[in-house]
């Protein structure tokens, strides 16, 4: 009898993002602009996880330098980043909350100058690491995560 299993092969060089909260992989795919990268990407949704119950995994066959880990740190700094070389994990990178993020999220304050001047970058700074609070660099409005 043939077993119904979903297998995704190993990658020889690249990055495996593990322990992504289930359902968040597409959001990360979008933020990392993986659609614009000419490399092999595997998105695994709802994989079994001892730690999380269910998790998502992203396998990206591209050197880590091409991936914006700052954005990843902003989305969820608990995601595990495994650097792969010769099909082996050679390094695990720890994500931190970036001090500043540019053009990842938009300020929703209708009174902010970014609401009328379209060419301005949307810049947020980390105002409180403990509460993971980010504020708009222009109007200081707090960014509320969903």
């Amino acid at each position: 009898m043939v077993e119904n299993r979903l297998n995704v092969g190993k990658i020889s060089e690249g990055v495996v993002l593990d322990h992504i909260p289930a359902g968040k992989s597409m959001e990360i795919y979008k933020y990392l602009h993986l659609d614009q990268m000419d490399c092999c990407v595997a998105i695994i949704k709802n994989a079994r996880s001892g730690k999380l119950g269910k998790k998502d995994i992203l396998k990206i066959e591209s050197p880590v330098e091409n991936i914006d880990l700052d954005i990843l740190g902003f989305i969820d700094h608990t995601i595990t980043v495994n650097i792969i070389r010769n099909e082996t994990i050679v390094e695990k990178q720890i994500l931190t909350l970036p001090k500043e993020i540019k053009n990842v999220i938009k300020c929703k304050n209708p009174r902010c100058i970014t609401s009328i001047e379209q060419e301005l970058d949307h810049v947020f700074f980390l105002s409180d690491a403990e509460t993971k609070t980010y504020r708009c660099k222009y109007c200081e409005e707090q960014y509320h995560r969903h």
Partner: protein, 306 residues
Amino acid sequence: MRHLISPLDLTTDELKNLLQLAQEIERNPDKFKHACDGKTLATLFYEPSTRTRLSHEAAMLNLGGNIMGFSSADSSSAAKGESVSDTIQTIACYADIAAMRHPKEGSSYVASRKSPIPIINAGDGGHQHPTQTLTDLLTILNLKGRLDNMTIGVCGDLKFGRTVHSLINAMVRYTGIKFVLISPEELRIPSYVREDVLDKNNTPYEEVVRLEDALPKLDILYMTRVQKERFFNEEEYLRMKDFYVLNKEKMKLAKDDMYVLHPLPRVNEISVEVDEDPRAAYFRQVQYGVYVRMALILTLLDIHVD
């Protein structure tokens, strides 16, 4: 290039120097009347604010300088869609320093990034109004002789009142400051001011609803207007509004050396009868606003008068 975008752009030492300079100007205005000869201040007011604009203009004129500018977005290139950055780079060819008022928050900061001349934020939406804060600090210093060890009551609309938020931000840097926050439930100070500013600096505070309960404890009372449109219903507004009207009767509860400040304009939150009370300091505050803006212009232009 120095700018003044937020009240916290100045360290307490820089602030001390600036306030001392303002006091020296008050004592000896003649000494400074040609300090800005040949210099021009541009007042870029994208929304009307006669009081703030005239105060900046009076400051520059008292220093011997010139003034130019506009007082509504309709009469500027903003009406044609010009960005704040482009406007300031153009104005910099005509003027040596600019004071800017704009309805959008963060506009002065955007202007300052490209500006070859100092920018004074004269109010950016509901965000910052640092020259009002400098005015408040100079007023408190002149009346009390110090900026530390006192109890400050702030009364009225503490939710939307940016002058109150800026004053709290500035005063928590001094030792021995206590706040009494006097407001209706709907207009309590926002949690980010309570948590990020007061709690973080271990500044003691209490929140009360009735002005009468707070008055006997205060060294300074900072009044603001309670606007009808801030209330959820009219009945609640009518019930509360008189709590926040300061009159002669309530002034009897206050200490003899408690001073009343107000960023003005007032509507009815301070009865006209209080104006005669020597503790009513809000019109002196307007005069101090000119001195402190004179000191600010000299500081930002790096002009020293011996």
